[in-house]
C-alpha cells in the first residue's frame, strides 16, 4: 500500500505542525508515508472564486504528483472535497468545451484515491483508537465541506472519543458555518466577521481550552477571530491531537 501525504498549501506554508502530526500519527500506525515534493495546491481558492481555467494546471500537477500512490491522505476537509467533488467536474466541463486534454483522466481518477485524514483512519485503516493522549478540554467544530460535501459523519468524533484524557464539550450551533469561505472572508468581510463572531461566542460558551476541526483554513479564521476577541480558547487541528501521546505529549501554542 503506497500512501502519500497531500499536506495542502496552507498547511505547508502556515501550519507545518499539522503536516508533521499526520506523519507522526501514520508512522505510529505502521504506515509508510510519502511526500512527493511536486505537489502544491489543489486549486480550491481559484476554483471557488470563478477561475476554473486557472485551476486546471494545479489539478494536473496534483494528479501527476500522486500518480503512483494507492491512497492520498489530506488533513483538510475542504481540499479533500475539492479533489473529490470538483476534479471530476473540472474534467466534465473541459470535455464539454471540447478541451478535454486540459484535464486528463488522471485528474478525475485522483478523486477515488483521495481521503480526508479521518476517512483514511476509520475507513482504510479501520482504527478509531489511535493511542492518543491529550489531557485538555476540546470542542469540535465540524467544518462545512467535511460535514456536507464529504459526509464525514461521526468519524472525527469517534476518533476524539478514544483519546485518553480528552474531555469533549458540545458546541452549540456546531453545524453552522464559521464564516470563512475562502475569498468570501475578504469579499464579504462584514458578513464573514458576523458569522465568525457568533461562532467564537458559541466556542467560548463551551469553556473548552481548544477548538478542534479537520481544516486549518477554517481555523485560520476562527483562531484569528478568537484571538482578536481576547478569548482563551485556542485552535488546534485534529491531527495534532491524534499525534499527541503520553510519551510525547503535545501542547498547541494556542492553549494558554
Amino acid at each position: 500500500m503506497r500512501v502519500a501525504l497531500f499536506v495542502t498549501c496552507i498547511n505547508d506554508t502556515l501550519y507545518p505542525d499539522t503536516g508533521r502530526a499526520v506523519v507522526t500519527l501514520l508512522e505510529r500506525l505502521g504506515v509508510h508515508v510519502d511526500f512527493p515534493e511536486e505537489q502544491s495546491c489543489c486549486g480550491q481558492p481559484q476554483y471557488n472564486t470563478g477561475y476554473r481555467h486557472g485551476t486546471e494546471p494545479l489539478a494536473r500537477r496534483l494528479a501527476r504528483a500522486f500518480r503512483d500512490h494507492d491512497h492520498v491522505v489530506v488533513p483538510s476537509g475542504s481540499c479533500a472535497a475539492m479533489v473529490r467533488d470538483n476534479y471530476p467536474r473540472l474534467a466534465e466541463r473541459a470535455a464539454a468545451e471540447g478541451r478535454g486534454g486540459a484535464v486528463p483522466g488522471a485528474v478525475r481518477e485522483l478523486a477515488a484515491r483521495t481521503h480526508e485524514l479521518t476517512e483514511f483512519l476509520v475507513d482504510v485503516l479501520g482504527v478509531t483508537d489511535v493511542g492518543a493522549y491529550f489531557p485538555h478540554t476540546v470542542t469540535y467544530h465540524p467544518t462545512c465541506h467535511g460535514l456536507r460535501v464529504l459526509g464525514l459523519g461521526d468519524r472525527p468524533r469517534r476518533l476524539l472519543e478514544h483519546v485518553k484524557g480528552l474531555e469533549l464539550r458540545e458546541l452549540p450551533g456546531a453545524e453552522e458555518c464559521c464564516g470563512f469561505g475562502g475569498t468570501f472572508a475578504v469579499k464579504n468581510p462584514a458578513v464573514s466577521a458576523a458569522m465568525g463572531a457568533d461562532k467564537a461566542r458559541n466556542i467560548a460558551a463551551t469553556g473548552a481550552e481548544t477548538v478542534c476541526t479537520v481544516d486549518n483554513s477554517c481555523l485560520l479564521h476562527i483562531g484569528g477571530t478568537l484571538s482578536r476577541l481576547g478569548s482563551g480558547t485556542g485552535p488546534v487541528h485534529l491531527a495534532e491531537i491524534l499525534a499527541s501521546t503520553e510519551d510525547t505529549p503535545y501542547t498547541p501554542a494556542g492553549i494558554r
Binding site: T13, R20, Q46, C144, C177, G182, L220, T225
Partner: protein
C-alpha cells in the same frame, strides 16, 4: 408607492450596513431558527424524503427538457376551458398585458394574491403609473405595502419586522389605504390579524379584478394551483369577476399525479406543515362559479436564457419554498434586502444573476454572497446544487464565456473591477505551479516572520479588521521534510509535532 431595487449597492456594501442593524439581526435570527428547526422536524417525519426529493428534481428536469411541449399543451387546455393565454417575453411585456387587461374591465383597482412573479416584474408600480391601485392581501405583503417597504423573504416577506413594528405600521398607515386600524390596537398577534382581516375584508368584497401567480400549472388539464396559509388567496381567486394570473413558464408540471410529489415537498420545506391549509385549483372558467373571465400571462423574463445553461438551469426547478433562506448563515446576518431582488438568499443569489444577467455591479456580486457552506443544497426539496451554480456564476463574472442573453448566443467578457484579483490569482497559480518558487517564497516569509504587522494595509484590511493573523512558522512543512527526510537527510526521526511545538500557530 413601494420601494425599489433599482440603484441598490452591491451585496457587500448593503450587507455591511444591514449586519450592523441589531434589531434586524435579532428579528431574523429568531424567525429563521424557529422555522428551520420546525422544517427539520416536519421532514424527519417522512422516511421516504430522499426519494421524494429525487422525484421532485427528476420531474422538474424532465419537464424543463420538454418545456415547449408542455407549455403548448397547457395553452391548449386553458383555452379549451374558457381561459385566455398571453405570452410575455419580459417583465415589461407582462406588465403591459396586465395593465391592458385591467383597463379593459374599466376598473381602477385590483386585489392581489401573494405572487413572486409579479414582484419580479414590478407589476404594482406599473399599475400605479397607469392609475390602477393593486392591493396586496397576503398579511405579510400587506405589511410590506403599507410600510412602503420591500419584501425580504420569499415566504415571509415581512420577516424583518417584529410585531411592535407591525403594530406601528398598521396604526399609522392603514387609513391611507382603506379601513383604519381599530383604536387601541395592541401588538398581540391575534389583534394584528384581526385588524388586517377587517381592513382586507372590504377590499375582497369590493374588488372586481384579482391578480395572482401560481405555484403549479398542470398541463394535462390546464389547471392552476395556489397553495397558501391564510385564505386570502382563495378570496381573490373566487370573488372577482376577472382573474389574471402571471406565472413563470417553469411552473408547469405535466400531470396531476406530479402534484403528489410537490404537495408533500413544498409545505414541509416551506412552512414546516404536513399540508398547507388552503390549496386552490382552477381550470379556465365555470359558469356561475368564480371569475367569469380568466387570463393566464406566461412569463419568460430570462427563464429561456437560464434554461440554455446546462449548469445554471437547475435553478428553474425551484418551487419557492424558502428553506434555503431559512438555513443560510449569510441571509440570517445580511437580511433579504441586501440581495436587491424579490429573490433573496441562496436561491436569489443564483436566480437573479441568471434572470437579470451579471451586468450590474449588484448582480455580479450576488454569486459571491455565500461561504459555500452547502446548507442550502442540503435542505433544497428539489436538490438544486446551489453551491455548484454559485461557483459556475462566479466563473461567468470573472472569466466570462458563452451564455444566452435574451435568446441570443453571446460570449460574455470578464466583468470589470476584478483586475487586481485576477492578477493575484495568476501570480498565486504561477508560484504554486513551481515548487521551487513556492519554497523560496516560504523561506522569505519565514525570514520576515517577525515583521508581519498586526493589521494589514489596503485589501488585507478586510482580513485584519476583525481577525488576528497567524504566526508565520520558522520552517515550512516541505523544508522540514527535505531537512529530515529528503535526499541526503539523516535517518528519519523526530517527526513529532513536539519538536518546535506549536511554532505554526
Amino acid at each position: 408607492m413601494s420601494g425599489t431595487y433599482l440603484g441598490m449597492p452591491a451585496f457587500p456594501e448593503a450587507a455591511a450596513e444591514s449586519t450592523r442593524d441589531r434589531r434586524l439581526r435579532g428579528n431574523l435570527r429568531h424567525a429563521t431558527h424557529t422555522i428551520r428547526d420546525k422544517r427539520a422536524r416536519a421532514v424527519a417525519e417522512l422516511d421516504d424524503w430522499s426519494a421524494l426529493r429525487a422525484a421532485g428534481a427528476a420531474l422538474k428536469d424532465r419537464t424543463l427538457r420538454h418545456l415547449d411541449h408542455y407549455l403548448e399543451q397547457l395553452e391548449e387546455r386553458v383555452t379549451a376551458a374558457g381561459g385566455q393565454v398571453h405570452w410575455a417575453a419580459d417583465a415589461e411585456e407582462a406588465n403591459r398585458i396586465v395593465t391592458r387587461l385591467v383597463r379593459e374591465t374599466g376598473e381602477t383597482e385590483a386585489v392581489k394574491v401573494k405572487s413572486m412573479a409579479t414582484q419580479e416584474t414590478g407589476l404594482n408600480d406599473a399599475l400605479e403609473r397607469a392609475g390602477i391601485r393593486a392591493y396586496e392581501t397576503d398579511l405579510a405583503e400587506l405589511i410590506v405595502q403599507l410600510g412602503d417597504d420591500l419584501p425580504s423573504h420569499i415566504l415571509v416577506p415581512a420577516i424583518h419586522r417584529n410585531r411592535s413594528e407591525i403594530q406601528e405600521i398598521f396604526r399609522t398607515r392603514m387609513a391611507d389605504w382603506g379601513r383604519p386600524a381599530p383604536d387601541g390596537l395592541t401588538d398581540r398577534p391575534a389583534d394584528l390579524a384581526e385588524a388586517a382581516r377587517l381592513h382586507l375584508r372590504e377590499k375582497f368584497l369590493r374588488a372586481r379584478v384579482g391578480v395572482s401567480g401560481a405555484n403549479f400549472m398542470v398541463a394535462e388539464t390546464g389547471t392552476l394551483v395556489v397553495v397558501e396559509s391564510e385564505g386570502n388567496g382563495r378570496m381573490c381567486l373566487t370573488l372577482p369577476e376577472t382573474l389574471i394570473s402571471v406565472v413563470g413558464i417553469e411552473k408547469v408540471v405535466p400531470t396531476w399525479q406530479d402534484l403528489e410529489v410537490y404537495l408533500q415537498l413544498l409545505p414541509r420545506s416551506s412552512t414546516a406543515e404536513r399540508m398547507n391549509p388552503y390549496t386552490s385549483t382552477w381550470t379556465g372558467t365555470t359558469d356561475g362559479d368564480g371569475p367569469s373571465a380568466f387570463h393566464l400571462v406566461l412569463l419568460d423574463n430570462g427563464r429561456t436564457d437560464t434554461l440554455a445553461d446546462t449548469v445554471g438551469r437547475q435553478a428553474l426547478r425551484c418551487i419557492r419554498c424558502s428553506a434555503c433562506l431559512n438555513v443560510c448563515p449569510v441571509y440570517e446576518r445580511a437580511g433579504g434586502h441586501a440581495y436587491g431582488s424579490p429573490y433573496p438568499g441562496p436561491i436569489g443569489a443564483i436566480l437573479t444573476p441568471q434572470l437579470r444577467s451579471t451586468a450590474s455591479a449588484l448582480d455580479a456580486s450576488l454569486p459571491y454572497a455565500s461561504s459555500l457552506c452547502g446548507a442550502c443544497y442540503e435542505v433544497c426539496p428539489v436538490a438544486i446544487d446551489i453551491p455548484e451554480v454559485l461557483v459556475h456564476l462566479r466563473e461567468r463574472v470573472v472569466q466570462g464565456g458563452p451564455a444566452v442573453v435574451r435568446g441570443e448566443k453571446v460570449v460574455l467578457r470578464p466583468a470589470r473591477g476584478h483586475a487586481a484579483e485576477r492578477a493575484a490569482m495568476r501570480a498565486a497559480r504561477w508560484t504554486l505551479d513551481r515548487p521551487r518558487a513556492l519554497r523560496a517564497g516560504q523561506r522569505l516569509a519565514a525570514r520576515g516572520r517577525r515583521l508581519v504587522p498586526r493589521r494589514l494595509p489596503g485589501p488585507g484590511r478586510a482580513w485584519t479588521d476583525t481577525r488576528d493573523l497567524p504566526a508565520v512558522p520558522a520552517e515550512s512543512f516541505r523544508a522540514w521534510w527535505r531537512r529530515t527526510r529528503g535526499d541526503g537527510a539523516g535517518p528519519a526521526g523526530g517527526a513529532g509535532p513536539t519538536d518546535g511545538a506549536g511554532a505554526g500557530r
